[in-house]
Symmetry: C2
Subunit: 196 residues, 2 copies
DNA sequence: ACCTTTCTGTAGTGATCGATAAAAAATCGG
DNA sequence: CCGATTTTTTATCGATCACTACAGAAAGGT
């Protein structure tokens, strides 16, 4: 009962997500969000409780749209090598989409935050650790299926992939184009030729 | 003539640098800096003009102390492979010094900044690009000296090293220890075995 | 129609941001 | 000692931060 909302929540999240992605958590003010979402502050707070909860919703939206390539790469590719090739390649494309923010919201969305933004920072750290665990699981599966050597250190190789992807995201933020990063990826993935 | 300064400028910069390193440019407030430096705001502004100029002085101090391992590695090691091994290894140690901020001021000191901090952001971007150019120069020298294949793409290999180091810095910020990162570095540097 | 409930818009909360005005204190040349 | 000069201290400045009190507007149910 009562007056229904006059705005589309998903659409509002989408606009907020783009702003958080471009500027990061702390550098994005509620005034900016209010303008981008087309909502007055009270409407935002009624719908999302506070800035941190809104950020979490935006991160979830990012994961389910922009970052949805990752689980697909791990599930659909038959071998670890192909999965990692596709994962990194599609990550690079996601970091350098034309007319969209560069880099990755999950990687650089809440670095360098003050004590008041610790929540958002921890939230993303957890996401990144989860992502690395998924990579390690895929490698472990590859070991069991025989397309990776038995002596492979899955956790360490996953960390190596994480380091690379996080570095790629930083470079994309600095304006490096996709073609260059794809060339770097080729060097990175030469590792898998070594392990055979 | 007039009253002389009662504080040591270099010591003040050192304290400010540690704070910027730990929290990043924007998350470090002048009030925090004032407390850490033991100076009232007007003294800081009289000595450094404004927050951005103070940050630049801190970055220079960081380059000349914490990051001074880099030029030494490039100059003192006889081959590109040894230079890169030492560079990355010492970078990892610098990113994980006990009782000091984790990661690298040059890499994550001014990410996710608002429009008002664009100056500090650009300042670090320039530093990073310069660092990558130095790496490329060292590789180029190695090609001329014969310890790298003639067909080596120096710029691309330098970008690969940069990506790795930036990723390492991000991981160090997330709390990964030096030993783990050194293991990752071994994987990274296996590239140089490939190129022979 | 009514009343209740919820949303919307205006305006403003105290806190904190980077940066200063003004006056007191200290050190110089003479 | 004196006056000139500079640093120090104290107490702010206006702007912006995340957030909200309040009142009017719009949609329920009955």
């Amino acid at each position: 009962m009562g007056r229904p909302r006059s705005f589309d929540t998903e659409n509002a999240i989408q606009h907020a997500m783009l702003l958080f992605w471009e500027r990061g958590y702390e550098a994005t003010s509620m005034a900016d969000l209010s303008a981008a979402m087309g909502l007055n502050p009270p409407s935002i707070y009624a719908a999302f409780k506070n800035k941190e909860m809104l950020f979490q919703k935006c991160v979830e939206a990012y994961v389910e749209s922009i970052a949805s390539y990752a689980p697909r790469a791990f599930e659909e590719e038959p071998t670890v090598e192909l999965a990692m090739q596709r994962f990194i390649s599609e990550a690079i494309e996601a970091f350098t989409i034309h007319d969209q923010p560069k880099g990755c919201l999950l990687i650089s969305g809440a670095t360098n935050c003050s004590k008041g933004s610790q929540g958002a920072q921890d939230f993303l750290t957890t996401y990144r650790q989860g992502s690395e665990a998924v990579i390690a699981d895929r490698i472990q599966r590859g070991i069991q299926e025989g397309d990776m050597p038995l002596e492979t250190n899955a956790a360490l190789l996953a960390k190596y992939i994480s380091v690379t992807v996080q570095g790629m995201a930083a470079q994309a933020r600095d304006g490096v184009d996709a073609a260059t990063l794809q060339e770097v990826a080729k060097i990175t993935l030469a590792q898998f030729n070594l392990s055979k």
